[in-house]
């Protein structure tokens, strides 16, 4: 489908929670310099897939290839060592810490033993302003006092603004305002253009069609289709999302093992 090897590839991934079999033989590929959109109904398994890639809960079975080599990702540390950054749907911020502390959590800047608060604070301020957040009173405000959209911006700034190879974004614009959404979509495009492999989950097909190069549709935990954006229409994608098939879609789509 694409001439380059995928940066990150999953093959035949299965994942169950107790009796609930959430992912069935999922194949997924993320290419460098491209935005891959992952779409699907509520509860289709999109977030589960992202968490599986990120090592939050490893897959029960299946292959995990990074830059063509099989790897084992046992936890978030392994994933970030590979250069994978994630914005989770549930954000995962520590409410008792402030914005700066959250943004640099796990990769604090230090001077010797001591935390380098001044550097972190100014970098955090830069990052937030670049994402059009104007209503935050102070970067030293505790995250518990932020609005929904402000939190989401912090989570994005926390994960996206680093040198990484793959970025997974789970509904990053869900709580964002018009201007902020614009900034994030631009950012996504810029990231891809700079060679990063981006996976974008969104329910907003307008956004998807604007930035995505490829679309992977999940239906009840199975990959319903994996197509180039230019080959499909919005109506067809809606059909894939809600029914798992699209009658008039040219299913040359690679691994589209519809139920």
């Amino acid at each position: 489908m694409s001439d380059t090897t995928p940066l990150l590839q999953l093959r035949g991934v299965n994942k169950s929670f107790g009796v609930a079999h959430v992912l069935h033989d999922v194949d997924l590929a993320i290419y460098p310099g491209q935005v891959t959109a992952l779409v699907g109904d509520n509860g289709a398994g999109k977030s589960t897939l992202v968490k599986t890639i990120a090592g939050i809960h490893p897959a029960d079975s299946g292959e995990y290839l990074f830059e063509g080599n099989p790897v084992h990702v046992h936890g978030p540390k392994d994933a970030s060592a590979l250069g994978i950054e994630v914005v989770y749907q549930d954000l995962a911020l520590a409410e008792n810490l402030d914005i700066v502390e959250n943004m640099f959590l796990g990769r604090e800047k230090t001077k010797g033993l001591v935390l380098d608060e001044t550097t972190m604070e100014s970098k955090a301020r830069e990052a937030l302003t670049s994402l059009s957040v104007r209503t935050v009173k102070s970067v030293r405000q505790s995250v518990s006092s932020l609005s929904g959209g402000q939190r989401q911006t912090v989570a994005i700034a926390k994960s996206v603004l680093w040198n990484s190879k793959v970025v997974l974004l789970d509904e990053p614009t869900a709580a964002l305002g018009v201007a902020q959404t614009r900034q994030v979509l631009d950012l996504v495009r810029r990231l891809a253009d700079s060679g990063v492999g981006v996976l974008l989950i969104s329910h907003n097909l307008v956004d998807v069609f604007e930035v995505a190069d490829r679309i992977t549709a999940l239906y009840l935990g199975r990959v319903a289709a994996d197509v180039a954006t230019k080959d499909v229409t919005s109506r067809q994608v809606v059909e894939l999302i809600t029914t798992g098939t699209s009658s008039d879609l040219d299913v040359a789509a690679a691994s589209s093992t519809t139920i």
Binding site: A54, A92, N96, L97
Partner: protein, 424 residues
């Protein structure tokens, strides 16, 4: 950061954040802002200090000797071991865990020290190191059981609470005790710095505080970061300095009730507590490790996702905390003059946890400071000290202790009420 954002950063910089005090405000403005903050309910450590002050006033009225120099000095040495134990518990509570065994960890470690000095004729330095090592080993085992096996810390430390009682019994022998009369050790709680040394340390500490405060302020101003106005910084330094000088002055008076036997100077336990406070405040507030402790306590899953090794943080916290508990055992042994089979038992642990909580540390994790232990420990010690002077029947003592504890806690709770009412 990648250069992904750099393009925008410069023009964005202008926007700024409304409440970031990157411009210097005048003192007047700052005071108004402070009052507004207090009105709004954001009062920092004020409420618990208020509780302590209420206690001091109540006991001061109840007994005229309560505020005498001698008694205030007694109070500091009496509070020493509980403050240190509470400080040991703060990081554990920050994780949302608990360490019921901390009291006996202190007792057992102190017993190791005592036995090494008395039975093995070891120098005190070796004995103290051995005691601290004992604490560290106990803490590490607890931490590993909690972190790796995933047994709730309440259960693990309950098991150690019992097990260490047995170890202590075995070490010391039934009904026995180990005398701690080595000069240095027993001096911690019973000797005082010379008057000159006291003044010098006080001045040095104030100078250090002033230097740090002013330099930090200058750096922030020059980098355009959020900062307090200079006047506030200076006011803070002056207030703390004055407090230190007053305490030093009081303790440097002769407080003996016996004319032939003058007692004066700062008890050594005070510098010890101050040093521990500095170490723990630094570790929790200024290092990556400390930041991670707060993160794990606030949201362990978020911490894990941020790549923090949650298990390692947990083990290290239990290790360091038990080491500090060992130190508290040593201080207690110094004060009491021995280690007995019940050292660290009784209500020691509950009091220490209570001290940390009264100081403002949350049992649910993520919220608290080393300095909470000081205020809370002083509250607990003040109750015992004040009641001791009143000399009531023992049942009245119990009831009044409970009542006074409630009083201190409700002053705190009521004055924090606004805070929660305003949703902070």
């Amino acid at each position: 950061m990648t250069d992904i954002i750099d393009s925008d950063a410069k023009e964005a910089e202008q926007v700024g954040f409304a409440a970031d005090l990157t411009q210097s405000a005048t003192l007047g403005e700052s005071i108004r802002a402070y009052i507004q903050r207090v009105r709004g309910g954001d009062m920092g450590p004020l409420p618990s200090i208020l509780g302590l002050i209420v206690l001091l006033i109540v006991f001061g009225f109840a007994n005229d000797r309560f505020l005498s120099n001698l008694n205030l000095a007694n109070l500091t040495t009496q509070a020493g071991s509980i403050i240190i134990l509470a400080m040991a518990l703060v990081p554990v509570l920050l994780l949302g865990d608990i360490d019921l065994a901390a009291g006996y960890t202190g007792g057992t470690s102190a017993a190791v020290m005592g036995l090494l000095i008395v039975k093995q004729d070891q120098p005190w330095g070796v004995a103290v190191l051995a005691a601290l090592a004992t604490g560290a080993v106990i803490g590490t085992i607890i931490g590993v059981l909690v972190a790796k096996l995933g047994i709730p810390s309440f259960v693990v430390t309950l098991a150690f609470f019992l097990g260490l009682q047995g170890v202590l019994l075995k070490l010391i022998g039934e009904g026995g005790s180990v005398r701690v009369n080595q000069e240095v050790i027993s001096g911690i709680a019973n000797s005082n710095m010379s008057v000159a040394a006291g003044w010098i340390s006080a001045v040095v500490i104030i100078a250090a505080l002033a230097a740090l405060g002013l330099l930090g302020h200058r750096r922030k101003v020059s980098r355009g970061l959020q900062h307090q106005p200079l006047a506030v910084v200076v006011a803070q330094i002056v207030a703390i300095g004055a407090f230190i000088l007053v305490v030093t002055y009081i303790l440097n008076q002769n407080r003996s009730v016996n004319a032939n036997f003058p007692i004066q100077g700062i008890p050594y336990v005070i510098p010890l507590v101050v040093v521990l406070l500095i170490i723990w405040s630094f570790a929790l507030g200024r290092t990556t490790w400390g930041r991670h402790v707060y993160a794990v306590g606030g949201n362990a899953e978020a911490a894990r996702r941020a790549g923090i090794n949650v298990d390692r943080i947990r083990v290290s916290v239990f290790m360091l905390s038990s080491t500090t508990a060992a130190l508290s055992g040593i201080v207690a042994a110094s004060y009491v003059g021995k280690v007995s089979t019940s050292s660290g038992g009784g209500n020691t642990l509950l009091y220490a946890v209570g001290a940390a909580v009264i100081g403002g540390t949350s049992l649910f994790g993520g919220k608290g400071k080393a300095s909470n232990a000081i205020v809370g420990g002083l509250v607990i010690a003040t109750i015992a000290n004040g009641l001791g002077l009143l000399a009531q029947a023992s049942w009245i003592n119990f009831v009044v202790t409970g009542g006074v504890l409630l009083l201190a806690a409700s002053v705190d709770a009521v004055s924090r009420r606004r805070r929660s009412a305003t949703g902070l």
